[in-house]
């Protein structure tokens, strides 16, 4: 068995009477990307904050690289790279200065950091922006500068909290490319995200979190196979609701209604579509089941009050 780079056991966090993380355990192997998905308020950010030693757990333990959090917080953070949800770049510094100043927090010498800056900027596709300030950068550039900054200490493990939220598709794809490159180089990543395509693309393993509890864990493919039927047919239009009680229903293993749309989850899409051809006024969309279906099945379709 591969040595665990990072492991969390039976983690508990309470805010007053509210238990926001409940008996959570997971681990990350070297070179692995673990994705944590879950609705807002599921405890993702609190878990990350505990992993960083910024808030103390009320129970359980966190081990990283043979050290224990929060006791060895400094030694652990020396080998961590962090990208938070909100950009926290220094607005008064250029891109290069942001990297220099951040490197100093790790006790690195100016000479060593300055040697690394060109390659970090190149990695972030920001070479031409070395002397620009964050205010002059686009959202995607800022996120890549944040990622470059997290790499200044050449960390073994990266903690990324929603690294692509708010980015346009081009910027998001470039970010994914960079993260895949890091995984190829042998770095490990702990990633939280709301984007299922991001989770599917990057993560070797996923953790589904809801109400502070782990409700599922596995590779994206295994999770879909285990929890869902292989095909989904979405039907909407005049009279779609009536299908729920019609004979067509028999071809689906499971049916969900959300707003004006009926979702048929089925092992036998062929027969289902044939049955639906009797209703030409309805619009249908046939597709394989994906992580989003899994997510909605496990955590429900309703909007959370605190979302």
């Amino acid at each position: 068995m591969a040595e665990e780079l990072f492991s969390v056991s039976n983690l508990v966090k309470r805010f007053g009477d509210n238990e926001v993380v409940r008996d959570l355990s997971f681990s990350i192997a070297p070179g692995e990307c673990l994705g944590v998905i879950g609705p807002n308020g599921a405890g993702k950010t609190t878990t990350i904050r505990m992993c960083l030693g910024q808030t103390a757990p009320d129970g359980g333990s966190i081990h990283a690289m043979g050290l224990e959090m929060p006791r060895d917080a400094r030694a652990i953070k020396q080998q961590l790279g962090v990208v938070t949800q909100m950009d926290t770049l220094d607005p008064d510094f250029t891109c290069a200065e942001n990297l220099l100043v951040y490197g100093r927090y790790f006790g690195l010498r100016d000479k060593d950091i300055k040697e690394r800056i060109p390659s970090l900027l190149e990695f972030a596709s920001l070479t031409s922006k070395a002397n620009a300030k964050p205010g002059e950068l686009s959202g995607g550039m800022k996120r890549r500068l944040s990622l470059a900054r997290a790499l200044v200490n050449n960390p073994r493990l990266l903690l990324l909290d929603e690294p692509t939220t708010g980015l346009d598709p081009q910027a998001r794809h470039l970010m994914w490319e960079r993260l895949q490159l890091l995984l190829q180089q042998g770095k490990s990543i702990l990633l939280t995200t709301h984007f299922m395509d991001e989770a599917e693309r990057l993560c070797s393993r996923l953790l589904v979190l809801d109400h502070g509890t782990k409700i599922a864990e596995g590779t994206p493919r295994d999770l879909i196979a285990k929890h869902l039927e292989p095909d989904v047919v979405e039907v909407f239009g005049q009279g779609a609701m009536a299908l729920v009680d019609s004979p067509v229903r028999a071809h689906a293993a499971r049916v969900e209604v959300s707003g004006e749309t009926v979702f048929f989850y089925t092992h036998n899409a062929h027969n289902l579509l044939e049955g639906l051809s009797a209703f030409p006024q309805l619009r249908t969309l046939h597709r394989p089941a994906n992580l989003e279906d899994l997510f909605l099945k496990l955590t429900g379709r309703q909007i959370r009050e605190d979302a």
Binding site: Q54, Q78, P91, V101, Y105, G107
Partner: protein, 265 residues
């Protein structure tokens, strides 16, 4: 929360960070910091000075008469140190802590909150030192004082900066927004300024008020710095230094505890 400060050498890169920002904005920052106190000094010192004439001040040689502008200059330099440190440790530190989330990003690196608070405290004191250095320079040019003992006033004024930045950091830790600092400046620093012998001798105050005034940090600072401007040695210097040090030490501890509480949420 109340455990002893755990400051390590990692405070230094945080201090350097603030220094690097300041170097980029040094000129407008210094102009802002010294122009106002100098205008007060010139307007009041020469204008009021003509009306007031000389002021009696106690010294090791008994009461001595000093020109009002020298009296005012030696008091207002302490006030400038107080204001520069307070402003930096409130508005500027709050921007870094709360608005820009600079502290959060620093704490993702192996730097502790105690290191950051210590660096901010030291930085605000240095801002006070830069400011008073510039003002003393102008005072020398204007010929208000040429006392060689100014060299000793300089580190004392740095200490005044330390004291007031420690105190300000308490309020920084409690603030929800910038508006909160108006209370500190208006309801605390302004009365402190008038009760500390900056503009008129503390002896002018009613006896009960004077009793309070004597224990205010700024009045102790003025008692130390004013004689040095007049080329005398301060009386009861140890007492005044201890009062300032006590304010600084206790305030820093409270500020640290409240900041830890703020960040533990």
């Amino acid at each position: 929360m109340w455990s002893l400060p755990q400051v390590t050498l990692r405070f230094w890169p945080v201090f350097l960070r603030n220094l690097l920002v300041w170097r980029k904005l040094a000129i407008p920052s210094l102009v802002g910091n010294i122009a106002e106190p100098l205008m007060w000094l010139v307007a009041f010192g020469y204008g009021m000075g003509a009306l007031v004439g000389k002021v009696s001040v106690s010294s090791p040689q008994g009461m001595v008469e000093v020109p009002y502008i020298l009296f005012l200059a030696s008091g207002s330099i302490c006030m400038s140190a107080m204001q520069a440190a307070s402003f930096e440790a409130l508005y500027s530190a709050f921007s870094r802590m709360h608005v820009q989330k600079t502290w959060d990003s620093i704490m993702n690196a192996p730097v502790g909150l105690d290191d950051i608070v210590f660096a901010e405290m030291l930085w605000a004191a240095f801002k006070a030192l830069f400011t008073v250095t510039a003002i003393i320079g102008v005072m020398l040019v204007l010929g208000i004082t040429h006392s060689p003992k100014l060299l000793l006033a300089w580190p004392i004024l740095f200490g005044v900066g330390v004291t007031f930045s420690c105190m300000a950091l308490i309020f920084n830790a409690m603030a929800k927004g910038y508006e909160f600092f108006t209370y500190y400046f208006t309801l605390f620093l302004t009365p402190v300024m008038f009760m500390s012998g900056v503009f008129f001798p503390i002896e002018q105050l009613p006896p009960t008020v004077r009793l309070v005034a004597e224990w205010l940090p700024l009045s102790n600072a003025v008692e130390l710095v004013r004689p040095l401007f007049m080329d005398h040695w301060p009386q009861n210097a140890l007492r005044h230094v201890l009062v300032l040090a006590a304010y600084a030490g206790v305030s820093f501890w409270i500020a640290l505890a409240l900041t830890r509480k703020r960040f533990s949420k």
